[in-house]
C-alpha cells in the first residue's frame, strides 16, 4: 500500500488521460457548463467581452472601443483570459480522468455472463441458464468453481473460495459461506473452488459495482456541504470585486476630469483587473480538489457513497475500533503454561499439545508450537495416532482427544471445572488464582484436564499489533479519541486498552451497547466513526457519522455504512480520517493562497491603470514593472499560470502530518498565507522580465 502511494505521489497525472482532459477543457467552454461555477463564469463573460472588443477593434479602423489601447495588448489579454478558463477546465478534467481510468477497470469486471438460475435452493438439478443482466432481486443462482458471480448477493447455501481481485485488487482468495458475517458476494468476482447458492440482492444497474462506477466517473457529482459554504464565500468575494471594478469606471472618469490628464480606464483593463482579483485559483481548482479527494480514497481501496462522508471523516473526533483485528492480531497465542500443584510444566505442555493436535484454530496451533519449542516434543501427525478427537462444540465449549484411554480435554475455566466435577475431581484454589491472574493481564486462560484431574492452565495472550500504538498516538495528536470495542470482560479489556494506549474502551460490547455509546458521544457533540462487518453492526453503523463497512461483511452492514473498505482492513479507518483532513486542508490552503495573491495584483494593475491620470501613482509600482501594458499583462498571465501550476497540489493534496491544530495552522498560514502574499510579487516580476526580453513591451 505504502509502496503504491509512493509511486503515485511522484506523478500526479498518472492514470489520467491527458489528451482527453485537454479535449474536455475546450468542449466545456459552454455557458451552461461554466455557469455551475460563479467565479469561472465571471471569467467566461469577461473573456467574451474582451473578444468582442478585440473583434470590433480589428474590423473598425477608428478603434474607439479599445480606449486607446494597442490591438496587440487587447489580443494578449483576451488570449490569456481564455487560457485561464481552459486551465481551470483542465484541472477538473484531469481529476475526473483518474477516476475514469479506475471506472474502466471496474467495468471490465462487469461482464455479461450466463447465470444458473435455480428454482429452489436445495434442488440443484432444476437450473436454467439466463443472462446475468436479467437477474432480479430475490432470484436464486448456483455458482460453481470457475463461474463469475453474476450479481451482488447473499450466500444461502454452500461454501466457496472467491477471487475478488477484480473489485478489491487483492489477489488472495477469500472464503464465502452461508450464515455468519462472510455471506456477501459481489458481482464480477469469480468462484475458484466448491459451489455456493446465492440469493441476488440487487436489481440490474443497482449493483455495488454499478454504484462504484457511477461514483468514480460521475462528473456531475453533488457538491458537499463544505464545498457549498466555500462557494458562497467565493461568490461573495466575486461580487465585492465586481463592485470594485464596476465603480472604478466612474471613479476613473471623475479623476480624469479633476486632474485634466489621462484617459478613462478601458473596459479591457477593468476586466483584466476583475479576473485577477476574483478568486480564480481556488474557484478553478475547487472541483478538482473534491474529485481527487474521492480518488485518494478509492486509491486506498475505499469506496465512499458520497463526498459528504469524506468531509465528515476529517471532522471525526471519536474513533471506535474493534479490538480484534484492529488493535490486536485477530488470534490469541499461547505464551506460557502454568501447571497445577504436583504436575510438571512439561506434563502440562505435552497434554496440551496432544489435545490441540487436531485443533486447526490459530490458538490451537500456537499451543502446539509453544509446547514443541519449549520441550522439544517430536512432530507428530494426528492421522498417524490411534486417537479419537473431540471437536470443539459451542455448547460444551471444550475440545480434546482420547488416546490410549487418556481423556485429555481443554477449554474455558468454568467449562473444564464443570467437567472434572462430573468426574469427581475438583479445581484447586491455586489454579483458580492463575486463571484470575491471566485474565487480569488481559489474556485468556485455557484450562487443561486429564480425566478428573486438572493439569494446569495455558496462558493465551492477545498480541497487540506493534504499530498500533504509534498510530493511536498520532490520532491523539490530531485530537481524535480512540475507543476500543470488545466482547471481553472489563478486566481483560482494561489490560489490553492500557497496553495499546487507547483512550477508552467498551467491554462486553453488544450491538445495543455500541449503539448506546455512539448516541451518548453524539449527544455530547462528538462526531463518531466506526468500522463494522456483521449484520448486528448495522444499527451502530447507521448511527455513526462515518461508518466503514468491510467488503467481506454482510449486505446489511454495507447498506448501513457510508463507506466500504474493499480490503476489509479495520485499521483503514485511520487512513480515511487522514484523507478527509487532507481534503479540507487543501481546500483551505488554496483559498488562503488565492485571496492572498490579490495584494500583489493591485500593486501591478492600479499604478498601471492610472498612470496617465496620476503619474505620481508610479511610486506604487514597487515591482518596477516595465510598462503599464506589461504590468497588466503580467498579472493576467500569472493569474492563469498559477492555476495550472497548482493542479498537482490540488490532485495530490497538501502535505499532511499528524499534528495539533495549532501546529498545522502555523505551518499552513506561513506557507499559503504569507507565501500567497509574496509569490505573485516574484511571479509577476519574472513574467514582466520575460515579456520585456521577448520584446513584447
Amino acid at each position: 500500500m505504502s509502496q503504491k502511494k509512493h509511486i503515485k505521489s511522484r506523478n500526479p497525472f498518472r492514470g489520467a488521460d491527458v489528451g482527453l482532459a485537454m479535449r474536455l477543457s475546450i468542449v466545456r467552454l459552454t455557458p451552461l457548463y461554466q455557469a455551475r461555477n460563479p467565479v469561472m463564469f465571471v471569467v467566461f463573460v469577461g473573456s467574451i467581452l474582451t473578444t468582442a472588443i478585440l473583434t470590433i477593434m480589428l474590423v473598425t479602423p477608428a478603434r474607439v472601443v479599445g480606449g486607446g489601447l494597442p490591438v496587440w495588448f487587447v489580443a494578449w489579454v483576451t488570449f490569456w483570459l481564455w487560457f485561464t478558463l481552459l486551465f481551470a477546465n483542465f484541472a477538473e478534467a484531469i481529476a475526473e480522468g483518474k477516476g475514469r481510468a479506475q471506472a474502466d477497470s471496474l467495468k471490465k469486471a462487469r461482464r455479461d455472463v450466463a447465470a444458473r438460475k435455480l428454482e429452489k435452493a436445495s434442488d440443484h438439478s432444476k437450473q436454467h441458464s439466463v443472462p446475468a443482466n436479467t437477474l432480479r432481486k430475490g432470484d436464486l443462482v448456483l455458482i460453481e468453481a470457475g463461474d463469475f458471480v453474476p450479481a451482488d448477493g447473499q450466500v444461502i447455501d454452500g461454501i466457496a473460495s472467491v477471487d475478488e481481485s477484480a473489485v478489491t485488487g487483492e489477489s488472495a482468495p477469500v472464503i464465502r459461506e452461508s450464515g455468519g458475517d462472510r455471506d456477501a458476494v459481489t458481482g464480477g468476482t469469480r468462484v475458484l473452488s466448491d459451489w455456493i447458492v446465492v440469493r441476488v440482492t440487487s436489481d440490474p444497474g443497482e449493483s455495488f459495482l454499478d454504484r462504484m462506477i457511477g461514483l468514480v466517473e460521475s462528473a456531475r457529482r453533488q457538491k458537499t456541504p463544505n464545498e457549498i459554504a466555500l462557494s458562497i464565500l467565493l461568490a461573495a468575494l466575486t461580487i465585492v470585486f465586481l463592485l470594485v471594478c464596476a465603480t472604478l469606471l466612474p471613479f476613473s472618469a471623475f479623476s480624469v476630469t479633476q486632474a485634466g490628464a489621462g484617459s478613462v480606464i478601458s473596459v479591457t483593463v477593468l476586466i483584466a483587473l476583475l479576473v485577477c482579483l476574483i478568486p480564480t485559483t481556488i474557484g478553478g481548482l475547487l472541483s478538482a480538489i473534491g474529485i481527487s479527494g474521492m480518488q485518494r480514497l478509492i486509491s486506498a481501496n475505499v469506496i465512499a457513497t458520497s463526498g459528504r462522508a469524506v468531509e465528515a471523516a476529517g471532522d471525526i473526533n471519536v474513533l471506535l475500533l474493534d479490538k480484534t483485528g484492529t488493535i490486536t492480531f485477530g488470534n490469541r497465542q499461547a505464551v506460557e503454561f502454568y501447571p497445577a500443584p504436583g504436575v510438571t510444566r512439561q506434563q502440562l505442555a505435552e497434554a496440551a499439545e496432544l489435545s490441540s493436535l487436531a485443533d486447526e484454530t490459530p490458538e490451537g496451533r500456537s499451543i502446539v508450537t509453544l509446547a514443541r519449542r519449549l520441550f522439544g516434543l517430536p512432530e507428530r501427525n494426528p492421522k498417524d495416532l490411534a486417537a479419537t478427537f473431540i471437536p470443539f462444540s459451542a455448547e460444551q465449549r471444550i475440545s480434546g482427544i482420547v488416546i490410549n484411554e487418556r481423556h485429555i480435554m481443554k477449554g474455558a475455566g468454568d467449562a473444564i471445572a464443570r467437567l472434572v466435577a462430573l468426574k469427581g475431581g475438583f479445581c484447586g484454589p491455586e489454579i483458580m488464582r492463575e486463571v484470575e491472574e491471566i485474565a487480569r493481564k488481559g489474556g485468556t486462560p485455557l484450562m487443561v484436564a486429564e480425566g478428573p484431574q486438572v493439569l494446569g492452565v495455558v496462558y493465551l495472550k492477545d498480541i497487540v499489533k506493534p504499530e498500533i500504538k504509534t498510530r493511536l498516538a498520532d490520532l491523539r495528536k490530531m485530537g481524535i479519541k480512540s475507543v476500543m470495542i470488545t466482547g471481553d470482560n472489563p478486566l481483560t479489556a482494561a489490560a489490553i486498552a492500557s497496553e495499546a494506549g487507547v483512550d477508552d474502551f467498551v467491554a462486553e460490547a453488544t450491538p445495543e451497547t455500541k449503539l448506546k455509546y455512539i448516541r451518548k458521544m453524539q449527544e455530547g457533540g462528538e462526531l463518531v466513526a466506526m468500522v463494522g462487518d456483521g449484520t448486528n453492526d448495522a444499527p451502530a453503523l447507521a448511527q455513526s457519522d462515518v461508518a466503514v463497512a468491510m467488503n467481506s461483511g454482510t449486505q446489511a452492514a454495507k447498506e448501513a455504512g457510508n463507506m466500504v473498505d474493499l480490503d476489509s482492513d479495520p485499521t483503514k479507518l485511520i487512513e480515511i480520517v487522514e484523507i478527509g483532513k487532507q481534503l479540507l486542508m487543501t481546500r483551505g490552503a488554496l483559498t488562503t493562497f488565492s485571496i492572498s495573491n490579490d495584494l500583489a495584483k493591485y500593486f501591478a494593475i492600479i499604478p498601471a491603470a492610472f498612470a496617465g491620470t496620476y503619474p505620481a501613482l508610479a511610486k506604487l509600482n514597487v515591482m518596477g514593472l516595465a510598462s503599464p501594458e506589461s504590468a497588466i499583462l503580467s498579472a493576467v498571465i500569472f493569474n492563469a499560470l498559477i492555476i495550472i501550476a497548482l493542479v498537482p497540489l490540488a490532485l495530490k493534496g497538501v502535505k499532511y502530518r499528524a499534528e495539533s491544530a495549532e501546529q498545522l495552522l502555523t505551518r499552513n498560514v506561513l506557507f499559503y498565507g504569507l507565501g500567497g502574499v509574496l509569490t505573485p510579487f516574484i511571479g509577476i516580476k519574472l513574467i514582466d522580465l520575460m515579456l520585456a526580453a521577448a520584446g513584447l513591451t
Binding site: 463544505n226 466555500l230 465585492v240 478527509g580 479540507l584 493591485y602
Partner: protein, 576 residues
C-alpha cells in the same frame, strides 16, 4: 515622531489606555451579569423599576424568542422610533421647548436625521444649534441615542447566547435585553459622566442662548442648551451626534483636557468591555481577550501612525522655511483644524478612537488632516467598524469576521470550520457574506453615484483627490454607521440626505439581521467539545490570522478608492 509624542502627549496616550483597559474587567463583568440575567449591584435599586416597565408594557422577560421573532421585535421598535422621530423633526415648529422659534425640518433632512439616529450612525447634515429645538434634541435625538445603542447591545447579547446554547430554539428576549441595556448600563454610566462633565463646565440649561457684545461692538448669539446630558450618552453610546455643529471641538461640549480625556474614555469603554463580557458569556475569558487584542493591535499602530503623520506636518511648509517641530513654544506639525487646547496628540487620538468605534464625534476637523493622517480614520471605518466599533455592533461585526476567518483557517487544520464548538456551514457563510457585502456595496455604489451625478458633485468643496476623498468619506461613514464627517462636503441636499440615509439603513440592518440569523442558527446546533484537533481561537496565532483576514478584506475592497483619494493626495504632496 517628535519630542511631544514621547513627552507629554505620549504619556497621555499611555494613561488613556491604562484607564481604558482597567475598566474592561469590572464593566465587562457587570455587563455579562446583566445579559446573563444575574443580579448586579444595581439590582436592589433598579429591579422594581425594571419589573414595572415589563408590567406596563405587558412583556414577559423570560419568554424566549426565535431569531426571527427577535429580529421582528427589533425592527418594529426601530421603525416606530423612526416614525416618531421623523414626526418630531417635521413638526418641531409647533412642538414645545422651542424658544428660538425654529421651523420644522425639510422632509429629506428629517428622513436623513431620523435614520441617522435610529441606526446609531448620528450623521448630521445640519448644524445642531441652529436647526434643532431643545425638544427635538431631548425627546427625539437623545432618546434614540439611548435606544439605538441599546439595540446594538441587545443584538450582540442575542448572538452570543446563540453561540453558547445547545440545540436551542431561542436566543433571548429582545425587550428584556433592551430594557436591561438601558437601565443597568447606559443610564447609570451616562448619569455619572453627565454630572462630571457638568462640573467641568459643559453647559446644561434650558435657556436658548445668550447675547454677548463683542469688542468690535457687534452682537454675538451664543447658543446654549441641555448639553451635558446629551454629551454623556453621545460618547458612551458611540452615537457622536453633537449638540453643536462643531461637535466636541466646541468649548461647551468639551471645555478642557480633562473633559476631553473622559469623553475619549467614554467612546471606547463599552465596546472594549463588551469583549470581556463576551468572554465570560461563552465561558472562556481568553476568547474575549483575544478579540480585544486583535482590535487593539489594529488600532494602536494606526492611531500612532496618524498622530505621527500630523506631527510631521506638511513638507511644502518646511521648504518655505517654516519650523514645524514641536517645542515648548509651539505644538508643531499640522495644527490646521485642531483646537489649541487639545493639540495634535489628543486630536489624533480622538480621530482614531471616534472612527474606530462607530462614534463619529470630532474634536478636530478631519478634512484638514494631512493625506495619510486623514486616511487613518477612513481606514478604521473601512474595516467595517469592527475595531472596537459601536456599542454591540462593533463586536458583532468583529464576530462576523471571526466567522470568515474561522472558515478559512479552520479548513487549513483539516476540519470543517467551527467556532466555540459550533460548526460554521453554508447558512452562516451566507449571512456573514451579506453582512460584509452590504456596507461595502453601499460605499462603492454611493461614492460612484456621488462623483457621477451633478447632484453629487454639487456638494464638493474641493477638487481633485481631496474632493473624491470627501465623498468617499461621507459614504464610508454612513454605510458603516459611524457618522463622523470629513467636513468639506455640503451634505444637506436632497441627494446626499437620501443616498446617505439609505446607506445607513442598509449598513445597519443588513448586518444586524444576518447577525441575529447566525445567532439563531448556531443556537440550534450541537456543540463539539474542544480537542487537540480543534482550531484554537484564543491564541496569538489566531489573533494574527484574524487581523490578516480583516485587513486583507478591507484593503482588497477599498484599495482602488484609497489609491485615488488619500494615497494619490499624499504622493502628490510629497512629490511636489
Amino acid at each position: 515622531m517628535t519630542a511631544s509624542l514621547i513627552g507629554w502627549g505620549g504619556w497621555q496616550v499611555v494613561a488613556y489606555f491604562i484607564v481604558l483597559f482597567a475598566l474592561v474587567v469590572p464593566l465587562g463583568g457587570h455587563m455579562a451579569r446583566v445579559y446573563l440575567g444575574k443580579s448586579t449591584f444595581l439590582s436592589p435599586a433598579l429591579q422594581p423599576v425594571e419589573g414595572l416597565i415589563y408590567r406596563a408594557c405587558g412583556v414577559d422577560p423570560d419568554r424566549e424568542m426565535s431569531w426571527k421573532e427577535y429580529a421582528l421585535a427589533l425592527l418594529a421598535l426601530s421603525f416606530s422610533g423612526f416614525a416618531l422621530l421623523y414626526a418630531i423633526l417635521i413638526g418641531q415648529g409647533v412642538l414645545p421647548l422651542n424658544p428660538q422659534n425654529l421651523p420644522g425640518l425639510s422632509p429629506d433632512l428629517a428622513f436623513n436625521t431620523a435614520v441617522s439616529f435610529i441606526t446609531n450612525t448620528n450623521w448630521q447634515s445640519y448644524s445642531g444649534e441652529t436647526v434643532m429645538t431643545n425638544f427635538s434634541q431631548m425627546a427625539g435625538l437623545t432618546v434614540q441615542n439611548f435606544v439605538s445603542a441599546a439595540v446594538g447591545m441587545a443584538a450582540l447579547a442575542a448572538m452570543i447566547r446563540g453561540m453558547t446554547r445547545r440545540k436551542a430554539a431561542g436566543i433571548g428576549n429582545f425587550w428584556a435585553d433592551l430594557v436591561r441595556s438601558i437601565l443597568y448600563i447606559l443610564l447609570p454610566l451616562s448619569f455619572i459622566l453627565a454630572l462630571v462633565l457638568g462640573a467641568q463646565g459643559v453647559v446644561q440649561t434650558f435657556s436658548a442662548s445668550i447675547d454677548a457684545h463683542t469688542l468690535e461692538g457687534t452682537k454675538q448669539t451664543i447658543a446654549l442648551g441641555p448639553v451635558a446630558s446629551q454629551e454623556a450618552i453621545k460618547m458612551l453610546g458611540t452615537n457622536g451626534g453633537g449638540f453643536f455643529n462643531v461637535n466636541s471641538a466646541h468649548p461647551f461640549e468639551n471645555p478642557n483636557p480633562l473633559t476631553n480625556f473622559l469623553e475619549l474614555v467614554a467612546i471606547l469603554v463599552i465596546p472594549t468591555s463588551l469583549c470581556h463580557s463576551f468572554g465570560i458569556m461563552v465561558g472562556d475569558r481568553r476568547q474575549g481577550f483575544a478579540l480585544l487584542a486583535a482590535m487593539s493591535l489594529v488600532f494602536v499602530p494606526l492611531m500612532l501612525f496618524g498622530i505621527a503623520e500630523e506631527q510631521g506636518g506638511n513638507p511644502h511648509l518646511a521648504s518655505l522655511g517654516i519650523d514645524q517641530t514641536a517645542s515648548a513654544q509651539q505644538p508643531g506639525g499640522n495644527m490646521e483644524g485642531k483646537e489649541t487646547r487639545f493639540g495634535i496628540v489628543n486630536s489624533g487620538l480622538w480621530a482614531a478612537a471616534t472612527t474606530a468605534a462607530s462614534n463619529g464625534s470630532v474634536n478636530s476637523m478631519h478634512d484638514s488632516y494631512t493625506p495619510l493622517g486623514g486616511m487613518v480614520p477612513l481606514l478604521l471605518m473601512k474595516f467595517g467598524e469592527v475595531i472596537y466599533g459601536g456599542v454591540g455592533s462593533g463586536l458583532y461585526g468583529m464576530l462576523i469576521f471571526v466567522v470568515i476567518t474561522v472558515f478559512i483557517a479552520g479548513l487549513m487544520v483539516g476540519r470543517t470550520p467551527e467556532y466555540l464548538g459550533k460548526k460554521i456551514q453554508s447558512f452562516e457563510m451566507k449571512m456573514a457574506s451579506i453582512a460584509i457585502l452590504a456596507p461595502s456595496a453601499c460605499v462603492l455604489i454611493g461614492t460612484a453615484l456621488g462623483v457621477m451625478t451633478e447632484a453629487g458633485r454639487a456638494g464638493l468643496f474641493n477638487s481633485g483627490p481631496q474632493g473624491y476623498s470627501e465623498v468617499l468619506y461621507a459614504f464610508t461613514s454612513a454605510a458603516n454607521n459611524n457618522g463622523s464627517a470629513f467636513a468639506g462636503l455640503s451634505a444637506n441636499s436632497p441627494f446626499y440626505n437620501t443616498a446617505l440615509g439609505l446607506c445607513m439603513l442598509v449598513g445597519r440592518y443588513f448586518v444586524l439581521i444576518p447577525v441575529l440569523a447566525i445567532g439563531g442558527s448556531l443556537a440550534a446546533k450541537n456543540t463539539t467539545p474542544p480537542s487537540a484537533g480543534t482550531l484554537p481561537t484564543h491564541t496569538p496565532l489566531f489573533v494574527l490570522v484574524l487581523i490578516f483576514v480583516l485587513v486583507l478584506v478591507g484593503i482588497l475592497t477599498y484599495a482602488p478608492t484609497l489609491a485615488l483619494g488619500p494615497v494619490i493626495a499624499y504622493l502628490q504632496m510629497i512629490g511636489g
